[in-house]
Amino acid sequence: MPESEILNQAFELGYTYTRSTGPVVGRFLTGLRDQQIVGIRASDGRVVVPPMEYDPDTAEALSEFVDVSDEGEVVSWAWVKHPREAHPSSQPFAWAMIRLDGADVPMVHWVRAKDESDIRCGSRVRARWADETVGFITDIAGFELVGE
């Protein structure tokens, strides 16, 4: 049996998905394009961001959209010391659960901070809007720490 060469090749398997947003997520994304974060009111009165289509308790369709602030507070966070290629930042950053003013539940996004020690639970943050907003979650180019 002849010795074989070691053959090695990189390849990429890609799927060109497009997704229909539906009216609720569509409204959220349209809001982002307008630099406005939109939530929805659930049957118990809580404002949920991003908006969900059906009530978590009654399963009724939801429709009462509520504008919320682009400022809020960090509820919890995780520091990413070595960002990977797919991450939103090439610099170390924090994934964070952020409760926006006017919302009752936090949403996940990322926070710009120079150092892990700059961020804590309760930190106030404000959305930094992308130079060009297109109607996608990356229209928020991360949150920035404010007022400390």
Binding site: M1, P2, S4, E5, I6, L7, N8, Q9, A10, F11, E12, L13, G14, Y15, T16, Y17, T18, R19, S20, T21, G26, R27, L29, T30, R33, D34, G135, F136
Partner: protein
């Protein structure tokens, strides 16, 4: 200023997976031969089935397959499908045919394209032969063969498909 643009109803969310594929010893020997324009299978020492592309072992018997067998570039259609819908990122224009082909001397099929044929006349048992790229374009890949095209030989009966010797059939 109010925004006059249409509401968002859809988003593009492509996903890609980046792989680094290392061929094992069996496939690497096969690909080294393909680079020279030769199709090489491997025979199982126990059940004597010839596999192409070889994986280096027999899946049925669980033993290494070390004997190499040079195969013909003639083959028989074992099954096929006519693709009518374009596949994103695939440059081939529909309608085209993807077929499971069994090379003469092999006992298992591989997948390749058929062309230079009347799609409606493609059938199980049909005889085909490889159309190779120019030699200077050969690489470690089965697409050194552009496609398989029908040849003027009698059809192989269903019970003989995958059981032909390397010397072929008919003509």
């Amino acid at each position: 200023m109010s925004d006059q643009r249409e509401p968002i109803t859809g988003i593009d969310v492509p996903i890609s997976l980046k792989y680094n594929f290392t061929a094992g010893a069996g496939p690497a020997r096969f690909l080294s031969q393909v680079r020279k324009g030769v199709l090489t299978g491997q025979r199982c020492p126990r059940c004597e089935q010839v596999y192409i592309p070889p994986r280096g072992s027999c899946a049925a018997c669980g033993v290494p397959t070390e004997e190499e067998v040079v195969l013909a570039d003639k083959a028989t259609v074992q099954s096929f499908t006519i693709v009518s819908i374009p596949i994103p990122t695939n440059p081939i224009e529909p309608p085209y045919i993807i077929a499971n082909l069994v090379a003469d001397g092999a006992n298992i099929s591989f997948i390749h394209l058929m062309s230079d044929c009347v799609n409606e006349e493609v059938r199980i048992g049909q005889r085909v032969q490889a159309v190779w790229k120019p030699e200077e374009e050969w690489d470690y890949a089965m697409d050194n063969i552009r496609y398989f095209t029908p040849i003027d030989e009698p059809d192989v009966p269903a019970d003989k498909i995958g059981k032909l010797p390397v010397s072929g059939w008919g003509a």
